[in-house]
């Protein structure tokens, strides 16, 4: 199971630049491909594609979106137990333990790089207690609404 790049690809290299495992490969202005063995189904190639040229493992086209509108994880610390599964699950290493809380010295996960986050949602999917949700980035969400 892997994502697939259709003939609509224009070889802009956006997917190859963002793919966290290097599975999306190809030369500039040439049709890109995804090496199935290395695809972890994060869907980044589809989200970044300006031509909606990528199909998900079920054969549906993924709709591209400007990166600044991509959703980011938000952590509900009332449920989170700082087990670190999201830290481990993040394929781009964008989630780390933050500073220790004053109350019990527990360090909870936090997103360290808005720009680095690829909005794959692995943190949400893997969290065993559903303490993570993906939300639109606040400042650009307002911008999007206005637009």
């Amino acid at each position: 199971m892997a994502y697939y790049i259709t003939e609509d690809c224009i070889g802009c290299t956006s997917c190859a630049k963002l793919c966290p495992t290097g599975a999306a490969q190809g030369e500039k202005k040439k049709h890109h491909q995804i090496v199935q063995e290395h695809c972890i189904e994060c869907g980044t190639c589809g989200r970044i594609c300006p031509k909606d040229a990528v199909e998900d493992p079920f054969g549906s086209r993924v709709k591209g979106e400007k990166k600044k509108f991509w959703k980011k994880p938000e952590f509900n610390l009332k449920t989170c137990s700082a087990c670190g599964i999201c830290v481990d699950a993040c394929p781009v290493g964008c989630i780390i333990y933050g500073k220790a809380s004053k109350k019990d010295k527990t360090a909870y996960p936090e997103l360290i790089s808005n720009d680095g986050c690829i909005s794959c949602g692995f943190c949400v999917y893997e969290c065993p207690v559903d303490a993570v949700t993906l939300v639109p980035p606040q400042d650009v969400a307002e911008e999007k609404n206005v637009a």
Binding site: H38, S81, C83, G84, V92, K105, F122, P128, V129
Partner: protein
């Protein structure tokens, strides 16, 4: 695409030839051996030739995550290292937490097995595109923390940080009490497997994988995890650190015992970590004092106050959670002017370098904890070696001429520090002790064996077998003897297994303390259930502290079914575990171990009985208990070796 919780492949590395290849394992192997320790037992039993030198090329060192690691279950981020132990000559394993375990699966493997001996120091690097042995001459000689920092920095490509396990100078020097380190101070310390890694000239393993781990039923995994998490989060305000000593004293004085619910220990562990037991254990008689010669009278509340739990809590800056752990018993400590980042010493370390050597200088314990973590040496065995040397010195068996001028008296923290520094470097008298007490006796002689407390070559831990006959049993009968993490009467009470597993002994809500010493057959049945359950825990990558909260809250059997898609009942899993346990014992027999020789030293059995303290008058009828325990698994009740019928049954099922 596999949705079974496991990856279906192992990686085999031959350091002599440099060959690295993958092997695909059939589902039947997982169905029978699960993963982790079970899978390790299967591979090692079949592939290490009879009589192989533990430090030679034929020994195989395996690094294994658990069946449940990365599947969405909680408390399942531990990894096992398995091999033939140079310390005991038989089955060896060590268990460790941290963040390394899921990385093995992210690289696509359920185990990495290393054989052969490299002609020069190397480290193994694995990512999604590369599997190679790299020159380790730059890091050879560095301590474990420096090595990890160096390899992290030099192996990082982008995004995720690579995960590293490595040995320190102690493993490089092939000290038989050395372990394998990860996360800058967490250690798979026991069985001397660091020496095996050192003998292979394998300095480290660096992993950086991106493969995903997929359970069979993701939603069900989450449902069970949420139940577990709710129990772990329940944390009422609790007493202060020094007050734990009075809880221990109360447990000592009371003639009856209420069956203990592990939630109490969970609350203590969440607040302080394992150091919560620093004062409570000696008071209740759970901690051996003064090389097993002393008692709670020698290490009373005033003495143990120096290492009361609040001392450690005060310098803890942030809690340390192993992967998938909602509890976080570990911690990172900062001490102004001394350490900016040191792992909080564990209970075992504090007691083995503290009360066990009559050392009440807590600063020395912090120093030694960091020193031993960096060196990659087991703190439990190191403490035993030091206490053994002190007793030899006090009894006049050795003198200042032997100890390089060190005045080895009880509680002399300066001499203890100097001695351990020598052990790490294998210098002078340090060399005599650097391979544990059994080897030290061979080097010293002169009747010193009376002071060497060990089981089959391995030093036991800081849990007194006279206080809990379960410890005496597990120290003596396990294929890897001298271990405290495989069972005890107290653990059995907390596991509450009888609530989900049929036909195993139930513990009444209240019982007389003395009753534990009378019914050897029942104790053996309890021990067998513990061994089976802990085999499951170690095969799934689970944490014993998680299991402490009870089988209905920590639903290991349900997690296994949801992760793999199997539909097995708890008793079926316990039967599988029994087979794995027999396989480990068969491994020992294959390699010439006589199970009855693994019995723990007499002093730890209350022979002679103590005349004061919490364990006054207690002695353990271990021989009868061992015979009953062996029968539970279909092993010969006199020799402890699996009978022909048991082995035939085992191979018939394969």
């Amino acid at each position: 695409m596999m949705r079974k919780g496991y990856m279906g492949k192992i990686l085999m590395v031959n350091l002599t030839t440099g060959d690295i290849h993958e092997e695909t394992l059939p589902d039947t192997v997982y169905r029978k051996y699960l993963g982790g320790m079970g899978l390790g037992a299967h591979i090692l039993y079949n592939r290490i030739p009879k009589g192989a030198d533990p430090l030679g090329p034929d020994n195989i060192l395996g690094f294994l995550p658990g069946l449940l690691t990365g599947t969405g279950s909680l408390f399942t981020g531990r990894w096992m290292v398995v091999g033939k132990s140079p310390l005991t000559g038989g089955w060896g394993d060590a268990n460790c937490g941290g963040t390394f375990s899921p990385e093995i699966k992210h690289c696509g493997y359920d185990g990495i097995f290393v054989s052969g001996i490299s002609p020069k120091p190397v480290y193994l690097y694995v990512d999604d595109y590369t599997k190679e042995l790299r020159d380790a001459s730059e890091v050879w000689g560095m301590d474990a923390v420096e090595t990890e920092e160096y390899l992290e920095k030099h192996s990082k490509k982008s995004g995720k940080k690579p995960k590293v396990v490595c040995i320190g100078p102690s493993g490089e020097n092939i000290s038989l009490i050395s372990g394998i380190s990860t996360d800058k101070g967490r250690m798979a310390a026991r069985s001397g497997l660091g020496a095996v890694m050192g003998s292979k000239k394998l300095k480290a393993i660096v992993l950086s994988g991106q493969k995903r781990i997929r359970p069979h039923n993701h939603d069900e995994m989450k449902r069970i995890s949420k139940i577990c998490n709710a129990w772990v989060r329940f944390q009422p305000p609790f007493v202060t650190g020094p007050m734990t000593a009075f809880v221990g004293a109360l447990l000592r004085i009371m003639p009856t015992v209420l069956t203990q619910d592990g939630m109490l220990y969970k609350i203590l562990l969440k607040k302080w970590g394992t150091v919560s037991m620093n004062q409570m254990s000696p008071e209740m008689g759970d901690a051996p004092i003064k090389n097993w010669k002393g008692s709670s009278k020698d290490w009373g509340i005033r003495k143990s106050y120096s290492s009361n739990p609040d001392v450690f809590k005060k310098c803890e800056t942030v809690k340390f959670h192993c992967y998938s752990c909602p509890l976080g018993c570990g911690g990172i400590c900062t001490m102004e002017g001394k350490y900016s980042h040191t792992h909080k010493p564990e209970y075992e370390t504090v007691l083995s370098l503290g009360g066990f050597c009559m050392n009440d200088d807590v600063e020395s314990i912090f120093y030694l904890n960091e020193l031993l973590n960096r060196a990659g040496m087991d703190t439990i065995s190191a403490g035993h070696a030091v206490a053994f040397a002190i007793e030899c010195y006090e009894e006049g068996i050795i003198t200042k001429n032997d100890t390089d001028g060190l005045e080895l008296t009880w509680g002399n923290s300066k001499a203890i520090i100097a001695l351990i520094e020598k052990m790490v470097k294998r210098e002078g008298f340090g060399h005599v002790l650097a391979d544990g007490v059994k080897q030290a006796v061979l080097r010293i002689g002169k009747g010193s064996e009376a002071f060497a407390i060990h089981a089959g070559g391995q030093e036991p831990a800081m849990h007194d077998s006279r206080n809990d006959p379960g410890f005496a049993l597990h120290y003596s009968v396990e294929p890897t003897p001298g271990r405290h993490t495989l069972g005890s009467h107290l653990y059995y009470e907390m596991f509450q297994l009888w609530k989900v597993v049929k036909d195993i002994p139930k513990i009444p809500p209240m019982y007389l303390k003395g009753s534990k010493y009378k019914n050897n057959e029942k104790q053996a049945a309890i021990g067998a259930a513990n061994s089976r359950f802990m085999t499951l825990v170690n095969s799934t990558g689970a944490c014993m502290f998680g299991a402490f909260i009870g089988a209905k809250r920590f639903r290991l059997f349900d997690w296994m079914n949801a992760a793999t898609g199997w539909e097995l009942g708890p008793n079926q899993y316990m039967d599988l575990a029994g087979d794995i346990h027999t396989l480990k014992q068969a491994f020992n027999v294959k390699h010439g171990i006589e199970p009855k020789d693994c019995k723990i030293s007499e002093r730890a059995l209350g022979r002679p009985v103590q005349n004061q303290g919490a364990n006054k008058g207690r002695s353990i009828d271990i021989e009868e208990m061992m015979a009953h325990y062996w029968e539970e698994f279909g092993w010969d009740s006199i020799t402890g070796k699996p009978t022909r019928e048991t082995l035939e049954k085992l191979t018939a099922q394969a």
